[in-house]
Amino acid sequence: MQNKVFQLLVNNNAGVLSRITGLFSRRGYNIDSITAGVTSDPRFTRITIVTSGDEEILDQIEKQVSKLVDVRDVRELKPDKSVYRELCLIKVKSSPEKRQGVIAVADIFRAKIIDVNVDSLIVELTGTQSKIEAFIGLLADYEILEIARTGIAGLARGADALIHLES
């Protein structure tokens, strides 16, 4: 088993996301995370999928996804040639006395406190998945009430790999 990050450029049609996730579920492929958002050209959506499987499965995933009529382009975002970011919101239980401890950990990770309540606060952190996991690990001493993670978005480095939308 290995992980791969695929970046898809798809037509921004109704139901396109369900066509893609439907393909994964009916063929028994894993989706570890999926993010989607419109591109600079509103006709297209960029989707980043983190998936896992053995080499043959990952090869089939790329081929099967490529076959979907709405999929304009599929490429692998290789870790050494790409950047990935994930956003994570963490609600931590903290009395006023304990608050400073959480804020100190957040500062080290350059996370932001975006909401403070009498007995809890919400921290926003953006980074690679390992950074987010390390941060969550450091909050082990506190009680985490809720976590919301976006899954990663990614782009290939440099201008060589651009897909020209008009071509």
Binding site: A14, G15, G22, E56, Q60, K63, K67, D70, R72
Partner: protein, 540 residues
């Protein structure tokens, strides 16, 4: 002009001559508009058969088959037909009426999310939201259905869109789908590699699948096999790629195929898979065709290559184009010993049967029938024991052999034969089914009569769902469960009389030949009943 008129106009532009279907309120505007067209409407008796008939027409005529049904149950009844077409990569366009756009999603009368329901077995589907999109969508639908790896496309049209006035109708001359560009031409480097391997090969073999028919490459493949004397085996979907009597033809592979065909595959050193997906029933152990062999896999769908067996030389493209390109190259391929060996296998490893003389022997009967049929006749086998006997004993000349290979849908033969006949009225269409599959589609006798589509129907009657009975015989030691259909099966002679069609019963082989000749004599719908030993087995 409204949306419904526009759809009909688009179909005319695509050269559609026949629409199979069943009306209802949600598709009423379409069926109202089609009255102003020369397109012929065929009213099937249940929607599933509209899709099968469209499939039969597509396979024989080589163009896209079309069906149109109403929303809700009309659309959901189509599903099995769509899945059947998808499994065999048959190009059909299915038009479904839908409830008013504003009502969609609120569970109103006869509403079903049909695009959602068929998502996993259509090539693509559309919900038409804006009447102005109709020309583009229909153009794209036909193009997607009939290009690359072919398959069904569904267009769901809400009734208000069908009724909405269209401002400007212009049928696009070409499609431009940014994301969809199937590979047609094979890569020349890969083609050269294939030739190099064939030059070295001592025991080459071609395994031809349904893709050869779909690509209309039968002549090219035959020429290639003859020129270099490369033996050909076929999958079930590939039956007919070679004439049965061709010296280079060595039978159908698979667990229901010929032993000598499977042996040829196992002993080959270079296998050229052409338009075949290495499916489980054809190749039960993919390892056997890759270990210590060169596997060349030619397919228009890149995802099929490597899905079930890792190919040494993948070659993506349209089969006809690829064989035209191969024909431009000259090379030598010497392997006469191999051919002698396969000829020996073929003459000594044929199936042996021990027929019961009190009944019709399906093997002898099917051979006799196919010899009596016209050379270019279309033979449609249903699903079950009748299908396996048909595959193994039907003699193909210049005709076609159709069956539901991938999905194994019972009840396919009668509607598909009807569509096949419509696809080419000059050809004989013969449907061969069992008494189980006949009862799944016998309502279409009415359609054939109403629309004057002559189809020859043969029912192999053994009072059992024979294929399952055979499975229970071997797997559960004759512990039969829900396979006995004797009680309740109607008297077919009376049934034929009720429909007003001639009937012939064949009890055993003694007068079979003259009865077959009488059966095939006229171009009319006829029903023939063959009494088969209920205990007869495909694998004896």
């Amino acid at each position: 002009m409204n949306g419904a008129d526009a759809i009909v106009k688009c179909l005319e532009q695509e050269g559609v001559t026949t629409v199979y279907g069943y009306p209802g309120v949600a598709i009423a505007p379409f069926y109202n508009s089609i009255l102003n067209s020369d397109i012929r409407t065929i009213l099937v008796r249940t929607e599933q058969n509209a899709a099968h008939a469209a499939s039969g027409e597509a396979r024989v005529a080589g163009h896209v088959g079309v069906c149109a049904v109403t929303s809700g149950p009309g659309a959901t009844n189509l599903i099995t037909g769509i899945a059947t077409a998808f499994a065999d990569s048959i190009p059909i366009v299915c038009i479904t009426g839908q409830v008013k756009s504003d009502d969609m999603g609120s569970d109103v009368f006869q509403e079903a999310d049909i695009t959602g329901a068929v998502e996993s077995f259509v090539k693509y589907s559309y919900i038409v939201k804006n009447v102005e999109d109709i020309p583009r969508i229909v153009k794209e639908a036909f193009y997607i259905a009939n290009s690359g790896r072919k398959g069904p496309v569904l267009i769901d049209v809400p009734i208000d869109v069908q009724n909405a006035p269209i401002k400007s109708f212009k049928y696009p001359a070409e499609v431009n789908i940014r994301a969809y560009k199937p590979t047609i031409k094979g890569h020349i480097v890969q083609i050269k590699k294939v030739i190099k391997e064939l030059e070295k090969a001592k025991r080459p073999i071609i395994c031809a699948g349904g893709g050869v028919h779909l690509s209309n490459a039968v002549c090219e493949l035959r020429d290639f096999a003859h020129k270099y004397r490369i033996p050909v085996v076929t999958t079930m979907m590939g039956i007919g790629v070679m004439q049965t009597g061709d010296a280079m033809h060595f039978g159908m592979v698979g667990n229901n195929g010929k032993a000598y065909a499977n042996r040829a595959m196992n002993e080959a050193d270079v296998i050229v898979m052409v338009g075949a997906r290495v499916a489980d029933r054809a190749i039960s152990q993919p390892d056997l065709i890759t270990t210590n062999k060169i596997l060349v896999h030619i397919d228009v769908d890149p995802a099929e290559i490597g899905k079930n067996a890792g190919a040494s030389i993948p070659l993506v493209g349209d089969i006809k184009h690829i064989f035209e390109d191969i024909a431009k190259e000259e090379f030598t391929c010497e392997h006469e010993e191999w051919i002698s060996l396969l000829e020996e296998y073929r003459s000594t490893m044929g199936p042996k049967r021990n027929p019961n003389p009190d009944y019709v022997d399906p093997a002898a009967f099917i051979t006799m029938l196919s010899n009596a049929m016209k050379d270019d006749a279309v033979y449609v086998a249903d699903v079950g024991q009748n299908q396996i006997w048909s595959c193994n004993y039907h003699i193909v000349k210049d005709g076609r052999f159709l069956t539901s290979g991938g999905m194994g849908t019972m009840g396919y033969s009668i509607p598909a034969a009807m569509g096949a006949k419509r696809g080419d009225m000059s050809r004989q269409a013969v449907a061969v089914c069992g008494d189980g599959s006949f009862q799944m589609s016998m309502m279409e006798l009415a359609t054939m009569i109403q629309h004057e589509i002559p189809v020859k129907i043969i029912v192999m009657k053994n009072n059992y769902l024979g294929m399952v009975r055979e499975y229970q015989h071997y797997t559960y030691k004759d512990h039969y469960s829900v396979v006995d259909i004797q009680a309740g099966t109607p008297d077919l002679e009376k049934l034929a009389a009720a429909y007003g069609i001639p009937f012939i019963r064949v009890e055993n082989m003694s007068h079979a030949e003259e009865k077959i000749n009488a059966f095939l004599q006229e171009d009319n719908t006829m029903l023939m009943e063959c009494l088969i030993d209920p205990m007869d087995l495909v694998k004896q």
